[in-house]
Amino acid sequence: MKINNMEQRFDRSKFLIGTYYLSYYAQTEEHVQQLSDANIDFLVAEEYKEELLDLLFKHHIGIFPTGIVPLQRKMFFAYEHLPVKFYERAAEKYVDHPAIWGPFIGHKLNMINFPHYGELIDAANRLFVGQTPYLGLSSSNPEDIGVSETASIAVLGTYSYEEYIDEFVKNINLDYICFEHYTYVSSPAKAFENLEIVANKCRETGRDLWIALQVGNRDKEYYMNCVVTMQMLRFQAYTAMAFGAKSIIWSCWTKGWWDSNVLDEYGNTTKQYKKMCDINRELKVMAEPYMQYINKSTHFLGFSGTPYLTYTKKKAENNISLGDFRDISIDGGSAVLGFFEKEGGQALMIADSADPYDDGIVFANVTFETDKKVSVLKNGKMIKAELVDGKYIIPISQSCGVFVTIE
């Protein structure tokens, strides 16, 4: 399948951070400024409203709005309920705005609808030239319905997430795969399974990997472990980057589903807002070098005695060599390790994964050997890699992200 690489309204060479929803009670300029201050690049699934579009554009924020094309809420038999001609009529009525990056097409598609959505995406590409349609896929663990096999069939149309992703790329002409996985209503083990399957397919087909992650949680902010902590945000973001993610979308800014979102029901910032500002600032710094590289493979380093590799094909490794990084090992912890290359350089994204639930504190060291010049960014800050007996030592803890480059 030929990937549609049309000229786009946003810079795909940047690491882009999005978020779901900015409801009517949070659409003042102050609220949009808050988005901008938190390094949010784009909004997803908020309704097309001219006043909001103007404010977003003023603050250099894009949007994939609803209301441009009709949505198929019930994803069964979309070919009956959502013919291509509906998109053609929508395009005739469409009033463009420079804040719009592309129409929000849908999410959590059932596999049965992929062939028809292939036609709809082709129509969207033809009708909305220069825009990118936003289409999100389910995780293998459709947490809003349940985790039983029956639920899996109802949502995905298959028991196999690998088949689901395979069929998606066979049928749908998009140059990215966007899916959602909410670790804290699912599990780290399922997150790794999903990321492995999607990242493999992205590498194979040259697609970008976009993933929706959670800043909100099902429970209200009351006790520990219910609200997503800074460490839990780091865990989600850095493991996604170790699999080569080029865009992440935080769910949700205002009430979309669950609780403890970034804003409360009155539009006031919650404790999640500062965390969003802090993590996104870090990610943007990390992304500067990160986006110069291409993800080649991802590995699970350590993970001895943990349940987190239950569903992955690739199993735990220790002491591996990747390019000019030799003898990479870890002393007791667990890290997802992404290997990246660019012309004249190589890099590792080390995502500490010993404590995804922010349950305690685990200190570990990742060590490697190389003859090259080493630079290290940890949680968005430059650090000096200690060199002892010819080995570089990188201390990791608390779901930190470390981007190591050698040239």
């Binding site: 947490e143 209503v185 599990s187 780290p188 083990a189 099902r218 429970d219 902010e221 009351y222 006790y223 520990m224 472990n225 219910c226 350590g302 001895s304 005695g305 943990t306 349940p307 987190y308 590799l309 239950t310 569903y311 007791g332 912890g333 667990s334 010993a354 404590d355 639930y357 922010d358 349950d359 305690g360 504190i361 685990v362 570990a364």
Partner: protein
């Protein structure tokens, strides 16, 4: 310590006992009480007495610690009702029933109430000979409350120092057990384990029994506690020498996914509880012959469950972990890559280990690990309540551990 008060209690303290909180109307029919018996429940805590229920409980040999037998206080609420005179008046008006094991007298009292409870308990034993008062103290989850802004732990419990809370409790309140509640799936696993350690140490030091309240329910209705999560809680409690566990809750008193719903219908938790309680009862037969001497955290390499940052002091608190240890005639006890809470027990002419697999308390996936030890004694193994054949090679024994299993190993 009034150890003599243990004599004459209305229930058999030599058995491993399993209780549960609350059996609300409409779950008080004979069918419902039989369900309790079928699930190996020995007693109900905190449910107010009524004669029809008592008769049914008596028929099925289930005990009750009713909340309306004596003036009752929940933390600081209603403390003005507590007095020795109130206890005396209740004793004068008390109508006995053989299903009553004793009154449920209080829940999570603050430290400044300990002198009062000391007086009340002294009076109680004179007023109600043969009965056991049930007094549940608070867990160590101060951090949760600070983060949540629920209330000041200092105001609510009279101290921010949990060790001081336990020390003062045993100094002032003369009971022959310590009962407390800590629910691991609403707090940190590390503080949950530390709480066990603090209470179990105090029980060993003072010769008290250890009673533990655990959770079969959960705050998040979409995340029911699994069978392995029940196992994790029960077997870790046993590794610390617990002699009684109380599941919260049978009826929907708090949180979601209780054992029966508000209409009295059993939920999916019922089958899980039957399975795990059956296992525990099997283990309990042998386990109760032994006395817990120490508990150890074996393995836990790279695990977050043995350290946390104290939210009051900001300090990192780490529990002591070990590997390759000797306990009595168990030599070179070690785990390959697992995390195990390991209880060491003794009886005359015998020693035992309770191995509580703890690599995956949240039941997130699969962890395969093993524990090994050497001994020249005869080895017997109960694995999740079932006898397991085991053969040593040159005196070395290796046991594979599945998620949150409980393995009771005896040598004689």
């Amino acid at each position: 310590m009034k150890k003599e008060k243990r004599e004459g209690v209305r229930f058999d303290r030599s058995k491993f006992l399993i209780g549960t909180y609350y059996l609300w109307y409409p779950a008080q029919t004979e069918t419902h009480v039989k369900q309790l018996a079928d699930a190996y429940i020995d007693f109900i805590a905190a449910e107010p007495r009524n004669e029809k229920l008592l008769d049914l409980l008596g028929k099925y040999n289930i005990g009750l610690f009713p909340r309306n037998m004596l003036p009752y206080c929940q933390a600081r609420d209603n403390v003005e009702v507590l007095s020795v005179e109130g206890y005396e008046e209740a004793a004068q008006n008390y109508v006995d029933h053989p299903a009553i094991w004793g009154p449920f007298v209080g829940d999570e009292p603050p430290m400044d109430q300990f002198p009062l409870f000391g007086e009340l308990m002294d009076a109680f034993y004179d007023l109600f000979p043969g009965f056991t008062p049930y007094l549940n103290i608070r867990p160590n989850c101060i951090g949760d409350m600070i983060i949540a802004g629920v209330s000041s732990p200092l105001d609510r419990y009279g101290t921010e120092n949990y060790q001081e809370y336990i020390d003062r409790f045993v100094e002032e309140v003369k009971l022959d057990y310590i009962a407390y509640d800590n629910y691991p799936y609403t707090t940190l696993i590390s503080t949950f384990l530390e709480n066990y350690q603090m209470v179990a140490d105090k029980c060993r030091e003072t010769g008290r029994d250890f009673w533990m309240n655990l959770q079969v329910n959960n705050r998040d209705e979409k995340v029911p506690v699994t069978e392995n999560m029940l196992r994790y809680q029960a077997y870790t409690a046993m590794a610390f020498g617990a002699k009684m566990i109380i599941w919260s809750c049978w009826s929907p008193a708090w949180w979601q996914n209780n054992v029966v719903d508000k209409y009295g219908n059993t939920t999916t938790q019922y089958g899980k509880l039957c399975t795990v309680n059956r296992e525990i009862k099997n283990v309990g037969e042998l386990y109760m012959d032994y006395s817990n001497k120490s508990t150890h955290f074996l393995g836990f390499v790279g695990s977050p469950y043995v350290s946390y940052q104290d939210v009051v002091t900001g300090e990192v608190v780490s529990l002591k972990t070990e590997n390759n240890i000797d306990l009595g005639n168990f030599k070179h006890i070690s785990t390959d890559c697992g995390s195990v809470v390991l209880g060491y027990f003794e009886k005359e002419d015998g020693q035992a280990l309770m191995v509580a697999d703890s690599a995956d308390p949240r039941d997130l996936g699969t962890v395969n690990s093993e524990i090994s030890f050497e001994t020249d004694k005869k080895v017997s193994v109960l694995y999740n309540g079932k006898t397991m054949e085991i053969e040593g090679v040159n005196g070395k024994y290796v046991i594979n551990l599945s998620n949150s299993c409980g393995v009771f190993i005896t040598i004689e």
